[in-house]
Structures are given as C-alpha cells and as structure tokens.
C-alpha cells in the first residue's frame, strides 16, 4: 500500500517529469562518457604504441584523427552533461518541494490540538525540516540509478570488445558490490537510530541540569553535572563515529571492487591483444566507479525511510481529519444543559466563570499555575476537557477550531513573530488591513515611533522571529498584531513584561481607549498593576476562582 507521501511524491514526479527525464538522460551521458573516455584513451595509446613500433608507414596509416577527436569530445561532453544534470535535478527538486512543503504545512495545521505548540520547540521542528530536506535530496538523487545503468551498458559493450567473459565478469563484480553494499547498509541502519537516541538522551540530560543551576551551585554539583552531560555527549559522539566507520567499509569495498574489475578485465581480455585489453581494463574500472552515487544513496537509505515514515504520519492524520470534518456537522448542537449563549465560560477549580462580550477580565496567579495553558485551550491549541470551556453556548472542544479561533485576537507570551517585515507580521492577523489601521495598531501598542524610525518603516525586516527588535519591542509588535484583528476578545498574555514603567502606563492608557472604541472584550494574563487595573474582574487561579469585583 502506498502512503499519502508516496502519492504526493509520485504526483510531483509526474509534474517534474521533463526535468527529471533530462537529469536522468544527462546522468546517463555522464556515466557512459566517463567509461568511453577512459576506454578509448587506453585503446588509443596502446594501439598507437604498437603502430609506432611497426614503423613510420604503419604510424601514418593509423587513423589517429577519429580517436583523438573522440577523446576531446567525450571530455567536453562529460563536463557539460554533469553541469546540466546538476541544474536539472536541482530545478526538479525545488519545483517539487514548492508543492510538497505547503502540503505538509497544511497537514501540520490540521493536526490535533497540541501538535502546533510542540512544534514551537526546537527538536520537533528541526526533525521536520530535516525530513523535508531528505525528500529534496531524494529528488536530486533520482537520476543516480540511470547513471549506473548507462555505465553498465556502456561498460558491458566496451569490455566485450576485450572478451565476453570480461564483460560478464564486470557485470558480476558490480552485482556483488551492490549486494554487499546493501547488506552493509542494512547492518548499519540501527546505527542511525542509535545516534538519534543518543542525541535525545543528551538533550534530556542537559535540559534537566541546565534548569537546576541554584541546586547545583549550592551542593557543589557543577563538576558532577558537567560529567553527567559529558557522559551523554561522549555516547553521542561515539555513536556518530560508529556510523562514520560503517560508511568507511563501503569505501573499502568500492575501491577493492574497482581493482578487481580492472584486473579481471585485463586478464580475461589478454587473448584479444594489448589494445583491447587496455580498453577493457579501463572501461571496467570506470564502470564500477560510476556506482558511487548509488552506494551513497544506500547508506542514507535508513534515514530516508525514517523521514518518509514520519512525514507519512503527518499527512495521514491530515487526510483522516478532513474526512472527519466532512462527516461531522460543522457546529455542535446547542447544549441545553450548558451555559447561556453569546459569552465565554470557563471552569476554574471553584466553579464556572462567565465572561460576556465586552467584559474585561484579568487572569492572575503565580507562574506555572496554568494561566497560559488556559488561554491556549481557548484558542484550541491544546485539547480542553469536555465542558471546560464554552463559547457562545457550545463546548469549545466540539466547535471546529478554525471557527472558534475567530473569536480571539491573541498576543502570545513569547511574541512568536514571523521572519518578515513589520507589515507581514501585522497582516497575519488581518490580510485586508490598510496602512492607517496598521499605524493605529502600532500607535496603541506604543511602537509607532520605533517603527517610524526604522529604515523602511512598515516594510522594515524584523529578522528571524523579530531578532532585530528588543524583547519588549517584540512583545509590543505581537500586541499590535492582535490589535489588527477585530475578534470579539483580545487575549493578551503578559503584554508588558520587560517594559519600563512609563511605556507600560502608556500601553495601558491606549489599550483602555482602544477597548472603549472597539467594544472588544479583554482577557488579560498579567501581574502588572498598571494593566490589571483596567480589568474590573479578576480571576486568581490559585484561589480557586475568587471573582473580586472591586478594584484592589
């Protein structure tokens, strides 16, 4: 059975078939030209030597024009073909990836709640990118077998000029090489897995210890902790070395095969005279040499397969999700037992909290108590328990996420900017916003002066995840982005962390004005008194949902 990834790849192979055919053809030309070039050169020299020894008459009778022109032609052909092959295979790979990447992105977006947040962490993303890159590599390498086939045909034909036995021996040599290489690749596949486990163990150990700095300090455990990490680090490096050494065996095998093929062809063709023996020996050597790309691909096979499996899983759940959505009714039926419509409700330890449209509420409590988690559940980025959060009378877990999310304009705690321009970031929230709207949002987020001072204003590049901005500026840009959306509730998670007091107060004043104008509700996660003061209602998550109506 073919997985969704295979279907996608097959489709792209179809779309890129002209380029792939060109790449395959050129790869075949490269390999055949290499075999012919060396074979012809060997024959030419040997025949020339014999003609030269036979005297000037024989030398003059020797047709040197054709072979020497052929040699030059083949040399140029080989170079040009290899250049063309690299271009064609890369172009095909880029073209295919331009469609495979969006498909995988769509599939990721449709994953069950919680997956998106997991991809915010480095390891999962790194692995996904690596997997997609592996697919690109696969496209680039698609032409390799054609090269080997062409080399085999050219080699078989050329070596048979020496003797048929020699050409059969060359083909056998190639077959044995590929069989043993396949065995080696199979044996070393677990080594790749061992590297992944070792890397995971290093990450886990390091993360556990790096966050325990005070305890390590107090108990004098730093050298111990360093040794712990060092153990994992050495295990990882050793696993990687074992993998490299396995690849080394392939080098040994390959070079030995080249020697045996050349020697075998020379000795088996000895009966046909020196020129043909020379031709056979060099052609046989080059035939085996042309196997290099396929051997490299074999070593990578385990990694490729793992990458395909993982991508397949992502694409599979996507397909599943689509059929589920088609079968389920787009909205759950109003739950008569549930809370009233046209408001947001969520369950806290002490009971149900009721937030009407236009209400301003603050969620407070010590860090780690689950404020951000609650917000992420509202946005369906995490699964919520049945009956935990209700939106307009429906359990949020039963509303399709893309519909429930329209109710919220979120500024996350970690800002999460796109690498792009200021405009790219703001328009994410509202693709139809005009410049005036964007500037108003920036003004209300106390960031307009800063953006005006940037070289290209709204079109200034903010760097990877806003790296060109300070921490506070990143947060404010995320707030401005949320302002660009006209969703019924603004959800601001620690919007003023890292701001100085004056800016924070300005942010609070403008936020209040904005809310008065738009009539939006506010769900605020913050400890800062200046901001919390905007919210007449406060829910302390530790004190089990005490709803204090008065300002403190």
């Amino acid at each position: 059975m073919t997985g969704p990834l295979d279907r996608l790849l097959a489709q792209e192979r179809g779309a890129q078939r002209l380029l792939l055919a060109r790449a395959a053809l050129l790869a075949a030309v490269v390999a055949a030209a290499s075999v012919l070039l060396l074979g012809l050169s060997g024959w030419f020299i040997t025949a020339a030597a014999i003609a030269g020894l036979a005297g000037p008459a024989a030398a003059l009778a020797f047709n040197y024009m054709l072979p020497s022109a052929g040699i030059r032609l083949l040399a140029i052909l080989r170079t040009g073909a290899r250049y063309g092959e690299r271009l064609a295979s890369h172009e095909a790979a880029f073209g295919a990836l331009a469609r495979i990447r969006p498909a995988i992105f769509r599939a990721l977006a449709a994953q069950p709640a919680g997956t998106a947040l997991a991809f915010g962490t480095g390891e999962a993303t790194a692995r996904l990118i690596g997997d997609v890159d592996a697919m690109e590599m696969q496209f680039v390498r698609q032409s390799a077998p054609w090269g080997v086939a062409a080399a085999l045909i050219a080699g078989f034909g050329l070596v048979s000029l020496g003797s048929v036995a020699a050409s059969i021996a060359t083909a056998c040599c190639m077959a044995v090489l590929l069989i043993i290489a396949d065995r080696l690749a199979r044996r070393s596949a677990p080594l790749g897995q061992a590297v992944q486990y070792a890397a995971g163990a290093l990450r886990e150990t390091f993360a556990g210890l790096a966050d325990a700095a005070p305890e390590l300090q107090c108990f004098g455990l730093e050298p111990w902790a360093a040794a712990q990490v060092d153990d994992r680090s050495r295990a990882l490096a050793a696993a990687q070395r074992a993998q490299a050494e396995a690849a080394g065996w392939l080098d040994l095998l390959h070079a030995t095969a080249v020697g045996i093929a050349a020697a075998g062809a020379a000795i088996l063709s000895a009966g046909s005279g020196a020129p043909r023996a020379a031709l056979a020996a060099l052609a046989a050597a080059m035939t085996i040499d042309a196997g290099t790309p396929v051997l490299r691909a074999m070593i990578e096979r385990g990694r490729m397969r793992a990458a395909r499996d993982r991508l397949d899983d992502i694409l599979k759940t996507h397909e599943g999700a689509e059929t589920y959505l088609e079968n389920a009714s787009p909205r759950a039926l109003p739950n008569t037992a549930g809370p009233s419509r046209s408001a947001l409700h969520f369950v806290l330890p002490a009971g149900m909290c009721h937030v009407r449209r236009g209400d301003r509420v603050a969620l407070t409590g010590p860090s780690g108590i689950g404020k951000t988690t609650l917000v992420e559940k509202m946005l369906s980025l995490r699964p919520s328990a049945p009956g935990e959060i209700w939106l307009d009378g429906d359990d949020i877990g039963l509303i399709p996420a893309e519909i429930s999310r329209r109710s919220f304009a979120w500024a996350p705690q970690d800002a999460a900017l796109l690498s792009g321009t200021v405009r790219d970031n703001l328009m994410l929230a509202n693709p139809d916003a005009d410049d005036a709207t964007l500037w108003r949002a920036l003004h209300d987020a106390v960031l307009d002066d800063r953006v005006r001072a940037l070289d290209h204003g709204l079109d200034a590049w903010v760097g990877e995840n806003g790296a060109r901005l300070s921490g506070g500026e990143r947060r404010r840009l995320a707030v401005a982005r949320a302002y660009c959306s006209l969703a019924p509730w603004l959800v601001l998670d620690e919007p003023s962390e890292g701001l100085d007091r004056t800016t924070e107060r300005l942010l609070a004043v403008r936020l209040a004005q904005r809310l008065d104008t738009t009539g939006q509700g506010l769900i605020l996660v913050s400890h800062r008194p200046a901001l919390v003061a905007l919210c007449p209602r406060r829910f302390d998550l530790t004190q089990a949902g005490l709803d204090r109506r008065s300002a403190a």
């Binding site: 040197y64 290093l202 020196a274 994410l428």
Partner: protein, 573 residues
C-alpha cells in the same frame, strides 16, 4: 524560544578572521588530525601503484597470461589499499571530530551551568548549541580539514610520479592546473562568495518553511493557515527561480574543476598517442614506450582527485562556519567553573559555628539586554537564625534576589553584606548555603543517591534523620514494604516518576537539611500544592529552618505566617 535567541546571537557576526581562528582552535583538539590527511595522501601513493600495475599488465599482454598475473595482482592490491587508506582516513577523521565535539561540549556546558537565569541565552539556545551547532562541526573536522591538508600535497606526489615517466605529460598537468589556479585566484573571494551565496540561497529556501512551522500557533490563532500555505508555495517558487540563478553560477566553479580534470586526461592521452606514433608536430626531448604512456594516462585523473575531494567537502566548511558564528556568540563561562570560590567572604566557613546575618542594601539586579531592573532599591536584613520571607507578585524579583546570593544574577547597584562584609561582584554564598526550589533536581537512581547529591559523605543515620524530619517516612515505608532503608533504596527515573509534587518538595527539603549549611534558601517551596499538603509541608519547613539563617521567596500566605520578618516586593504603580 530557540529561534528567537539563536538569531539574536547571530546578529553579532564575528569577523571571518575571528571565525577562522576559532575554528582552528576547536579543530586542534589533538594534533593527530594530520593522520587523516596522511592516510589520504597514501591514497594518492596507492593510485600510483594502481596505474603502474595496469600499465605493466598491458605491456605484458603479448607475453601471455602468466606474465600479466603479477601486474594484475598489483592492481588488485593497490585497489584494496586505496579503499583501506580512505577507510582509515574516515575513521581517523571521525575520531578527531569526536574528540573535538566532546571537548567543545564540555566548554559550553561549563558556561551553561554558570549562566545568569533570565539572561538572553535560554536553555533552548544552549541546547541547540550543545547538540546541533556542535554537530555541524563534524564534517568540517572529519572531512574538510584532512581533505584540505592532503589537497595541498597529494597532487604533487602524482605530479612527481608522472614526471618520472614523462616530464612532458607532467608539464601538461601543470599547464592545466595553472589556468585553474589563476581562475580561482582571480575570482578569489568571488568564487568563495558564489558558493557562499549558493549555501545561503539553499538555506533560505528551507528557512521560510521552518519559520512558519515554528510560528504555527499564531498562524492558527489568526486562521491564516491557508493563506500561509499558499504564500509558502509562491515564495518557494520565486525563491527557487532566484536560487537557480545563483546555482547556475555556483555549479560553474565545480564545472571548471571537472573541465580541467577531463581536459588534462584528454590532453595527456592525445599527447601520449602522438608521441608513440612519432607524429608530434614539434620536437620533444622524450620518446615514450607503451608502459610509460599508459602509466601516465591512468594517473592523469588522479591529479585532480584530491582537489575534487576538497570541493565535495566544501559545504561541510560552510555549515561549520554558520555554526561557529552562533557558538562564538555564546557567553564565555562567567568564571572558571568549579572550586574557584575566592568570592566567599572569609567570615563564612561552612563549618562556622555562628550563624551569619545577611543584609541587602539598595540592591538592584538587571539582566543584560533587559529594559528594566528585575529588582531595584531592595533593602532588608536577615538576622542570624531568623526567617525572612520575600513576597510579591510574579516577576517582582523574588527569585532573582535568591539567585543573586549564588552569583547567578547580576548586581548592578547596592551591596549584599554577610556579617557586615561585602559580597564581591559575582561572588557566591553557595558553599555555606542549602537550596530547595519548586522544581527539585531528580536524577535517575535510588532515593538515597538523590539525597546524597547534597552531601556525598552523609552517614545513613544522617540520611534517616533528614528524611524523617522532611516527613518522607510514610512514603518510604510504603515503598520499602515496611522498611525505611528498603524504601530509600528504591529507584526513581529522571522525571521523578511516582513521586507526588509534595513528595518531591520534601525530598528537596531533606536534601537541603542534609547539608550542614548555615544559610537556607527556599524558592517557592510550596507552589502548586493543594491546601492540605501545603499545611503539612509548612511544618516541615519550620523544622528545616531551625538553626539556619533563612530566606524564602513565596506567594503563600501560610509561609508568610512563619516569617520573623516579611519583605514585600512589587511595583507600587
């Protein structure tokens, strides 16, 4: 936020020179890196044997199979030898890379364990550095460096062997090399610049995808997944078109290498043929025979082989340079890591019989890159043997104040006094302090081993006393089937599996009590506990504080209740 801060660091690009210097120091973990290069050079020597064997075999053909056989054996042996030395070079290079990586990781880990919490380098960034960036150096050390060293010498070995057989053929090789070198030298930076552009262009193709995957939560939150997927396809197409332009040029440089390699073979073949036919249109000082001609021809492709190997390893170099830029930007270890605690005031000895007094005088803490002080103008006293509780909203700097005492937070103004003696900048009370926090360190091992972390030579009696005081007895009895000692010997995994939140906190307290330290620092020791467990734990905390000068950071009103003195931090807005 890995992405965020790693690019933060990359924004301060080191100069190429500094980068080269840094890479050099890293690679020189041991001078034996040359061994890999030496093996690669032996590959060229074996290639000479291979060519000689082939030439001998062809010359011997007229004399019959028996005469061919020894030469053919030489071919097989040389072929095997080539494979063997390349394998050994791979092994040696891999070992060299292994050593360099382990050494470099040690350095990063040392600085990681000493970093200022809340400083711009987060655990995520350091983790990326420790695992991924360090791994990116692998190919550079294992393949590129040996190839470069061998590439500087090996072609001349081939040239020498060629010259012995035919000086003119050697001349032809040199002549084809000269335009190549001239082209490379003229293009100089430009050639390198082109392949650098190739590398960045390829990186950018994947970069946008990676970025949108990282930002997926906000993309989803604004319902922009379809727009972004669509834009991703368009951007990839556009970028691919532009990248192809760069690649067209970049592949030319490897094409040139290939062209000269092919040209040299063709020229040598034609020259040898004409020489053998006595048909050269110009006089040459040599007359070749078949053996020498064939030898020279078979050797010609080997002249360029080391340079092609180097070109193949070029992307390893670029990957390493990108990683080096990020690694250089990591903060150096604040102080040489262990043992060096001259910063501890003399008045403070771990075995000191008298309990110390602590005093904060107008203390301000500000992390590098922060727009605001984490703590400012903090002023309070902790008399000897008393309990002071720091309280206030999250982010008001309670934990920072505790970290300051351990040298884990940067003091920008004011003083910390221990018995009236100033704590020097970056100084630490760690040798005289015990710590228990909200996320205790739990290692894979027995409970006893976990406790002994604090005090490796603690007697079993001391451990028993500590666990009883910490209220762990019922749990240990249950785990040990009625015997506490057996309970102490049950194993925990690294995630502390099977322990409740309260039990972990008790374990941390038992550990803190085990160390005979006169100062006790507690960071949110009761956070996330339900009311009943908190009440039970507060009693234990009171026991732990007895006979120690104690500073507690907490939100809990119950802990405030045991304080001799309460300091409220916060923003009087």
């Amino acid at each position: 936020m890995t992405a965020l801060s790693s690019s933060d660091l990359a924004s301060t690009d080191p100069t190429p020179r500094a980068r080269r210097q840094w890479l050099k120091t890293i690679a020189q973990g041991g001078r034996r890196g040359d061994a890999a290069a030496a093996w690669l050079m032996l590959d060229s020597v074996a290639a000479i044997g291979f060519a000689g064997g082939l030439a001998g075999a062809i010359v011997a053909v007229p004399a019959g199979a028996a005469a061919v056989l020894p030469w053919v054996m030489l071919v097989v042996l040389s072929g095997g030898l080539r494979g063997l030395v390349v394998m050994l070079a791979t092994r040696r290079g891999a070992r060299q890379a292994e050593n360099a990586k382990v050494t470099l990781r040690r350095r990063i880990v040392a600085s990681a364990l000493h970093r200022d919490p809340g400083a711009p380098t987060t655990t995520g960034v350091l983790m990326a550095a420790v695992v991924d960036e360090v791994d990116a150096l692998d190919g550079y050390i294992a393949r590129f460096l040996p190839a470069r060293k061998a590439g500087a010498i090996a072609p001349f070995l081939i040239l020498l062997a060629t010259a012995l057989a035919s000086p003119v053929a050697a001349g032809i090789l040199v002549v084809t090399l000269i335009p190549f070198i001239v082209a490379m030298a003229l293009a100089g930076g430009a050639a390198a610049e082109k392949s650098r552009r190739q590398f960045t262009a390829l990186a950018r193709l994947t970069g946008r995808f990676a970025d949108r995957v990282r930002a997926l939560p906000v993309v989803l939150a604004f319902g922009a997944e379809d727009r972004e997927a669509h834009a991703l396809g368009i951007a990839a197409d556009e970028l691919a078109a532009r990248t192809m332009g760069v690649l067209r040029v970049a592949f030319l440089s490897s094409g040139a290498l290939e062209f000269f390699a092919a040209l040299s073979v063709a020229l040598v073949a034609v020259y040898c043929g004409f020489n053998l036919l006595h048909l050269l249109p110009f006089p040459v000082p040599e007359q070749l025979d078949l053996g020498r001609a064939f030898f020279v021809l078979a050797l010609a492709p080997e002249f360029y082989a080391p340079m092609r190997r180097l070109a193949a390893a070029y992307h390893d170099k670029q990957a390493a340079e990108t990683a080096a830029d990020r690694l250089i930007a990591l903060p150096a270890p604040a102080s040489p890591m262990p043992a060096s605690l001259p910063a501890t005031p003399h008045a403070l000895r771990p075995d000191m019989p008298v309990l110390p007094a602590l005093a904060f005088r107008s203390v301000a803490i500000r992390y590098p890159g922060a727009e605001r002080c984490a703590v400012s103008d903090l002023m309070f006293d902790v008399p000897p043997g008393r309990i002071v509780v720091l309280t206030g909203p999250s982010g008001s700097g309670k934990t920072s104040a505790l970290h300051l005492l351990l040298g884990l937070a940067p003091l920008v103004a004011g003083d910390v006094l221990i018995d009236g003696e100033r704590l020097p900048p970056g100084g630490s009370l760690a040798p005289s302090a015990s710590w228990a926090g909200q996320h205790p360190l739990i290692i894979a091992g027995t409970i006893r081993e976990n406790l002994r972390l604090a005090c490796p030579d603690a007697t079993d009696d001391a451990i028993d006393r500590a666990v009883v005081q910490a209220g762990l007895r019922p749990m240990l009895m249950a785990r040990g089937g009625g015997r506490m000692a057996a309970g102490l010997d049950t194993r925990l995994d690294a995630r502390g599996g099977g322990l409740s939140g309260g039990e972990r906190r008790r374990l941390a307290l038992a550990r803190a009590m085990l160390k005979p330290a006169p100062i006790l620092l507690l960071d949110e020791p009761t956070a996330h506990l339900d009311a009943l467990s908190e009440i039970a734990l507060v009693t234990t905390i009171v026991a732990a504080c007895r006979g120690r000068t104690t500073l507690i950071a907490t939100h809990s009103d119950r802990l405030v209740g045991i304080a001799d003195h309460v300091v409220r931090l916060g923003d009087p807005a």
